[in-house]
């Protein structure tokens, strides 16, 4: 059977080719950055200034606009990372392997932000920075998973073998994701239940919800920007002996 390249398969082949990915990334980044800054600006203005004060929590609730989107990102990035890991393991696509390891520090950062802003919200509302309840503990385990992936990758010299190892670790760690999500329903926790993702009707005022969703979308764009930036470095490291890096070096420097 002969392989006839269709426009779609040609598109994917070009996308997965490192030099094309590199130049496309350079063209995309200014646009992504512009969208991110606009969304972030509106999200912060809406959340910190326009949104009404909460009748129970006063203005302390405004931490929600960084806490909840960061916590969502900590889960979202983990799932993307594990999926990229699976793609890398099955099809041996170099770019997928690069996405796994480039995602890990960003995911760890969002998990850290979720935990720290949660503590800063918990202190005035619950009277304590930290409790060992299901939601907080499972989120802390997520941080350790990210850190474990980063250090395992650093410990293995051969980067293709390192990628396979961290992809397997990332896939095993996926069990933690539903545990984090449903922890507030399965166990009695101090952490409040879901307010936005309830199927029937979110129990949050629309003026509070819009900036929250704006921040969530802004963080998605941030992830894309940070991911592409980190992927460029990783790609250069791995492809340093290839022709396209050499010719780029001659034109850029």
């Amino acid at each position: 059977m002969s392989f006839v390249p269709t426009p779609i398969s040609r598109f994917f082949h070009r996308m997965a080719s490192p030099p094309h990915f590199y130049s496309l990334t350079n063209k995309l980044l200014p646009w992504l950055m512009t969208i991110f800054i606009l969304l972030l600006g509106y999200g912060l203005y809406g959340g910190l200034y326009l949104a009404p004060t909460d009748y129970q929590q006063g203005d302390s609730y405004r931490i929600i606009y960084v806490h909840v989107p960061a916590a969502w990102m900590s889960l979202f990035i983990y799932v993307v990372m594990a999926m990229a890991g699976a793609i890398g393991l099955i099809w041996r696509i170099k770019l997928a392997e690069i996405m796994v390891i480039s995602s890990a520090p960003i995911g760890a950062s969002f998990t850290f932000i979720a935990l720290v802003t949660g503590a800063l919200w918990g202190k005035p509302m619950w009277g304590t920075w930290w409790v060992w309840d299901a939601r907080l503990t499972s989120e802390l385990i997520l941080l350790f998973l990210y850190l474990g992936i980063i250090s395992l990758y650093g410990a293995i010299e051969d980067k293709r073998r390192a990628s396979r190892a961290v992809s397997i670790l990332a896939l095993v760690g996926v069990v933690n994701i539903p545990i984090i999500h449903y922890s507030v329903e399965w166990w009695n926790t101090l952490h409040q239940g879901p307010t936005v993702t309830k199927i029937d009707k979110p129990s949050i005022h629309i003026d509070m919800l819009i900036p929250l969703l704006t921040m969530a979308i802004a963080f998605k764009f941030y992830y894309l920007i940070a991911l592409l930036q980190a992927a460029k470095v990783e790609l250069l490291r791995r492809e340093q002996n290839s022709q396209w890096v050499r010719s780029m070096l001659e034109t850029e420097t």
């Binding site: 302390s60 931490i63 932000i113 720290v116 800063l120 250069l236």
Partner: protein, 55 residues
């Protein structure tokens, strides 16, 4: 929020709110700057290495 002062004071929760946003801002900024610094440094080293090989 009716005034700028109210915005800064955050109904008495200024410390918690602004610390949360400050830490998040720093962590996210570092994540954007680090790869740019690393890439420039790597390209510089690589250019030096190639120059040495050619000589």
């Amino acid at each position: 929020m009716n005034s700028f002062a109210e915005f800064i004071l955050m109904g008495g929760y200024a410390f918690y709110v602004w610390t949360a946003y400050g830490i998040a801002f720093i962590v996210l900024l570092v994540n954007l700057i680090m790869p740019v610094v690393q890439r420039k440094q790597f390209l510089r080293e690589l250019a030096l290495k190639q120059k040495r090989i050619r000589q």
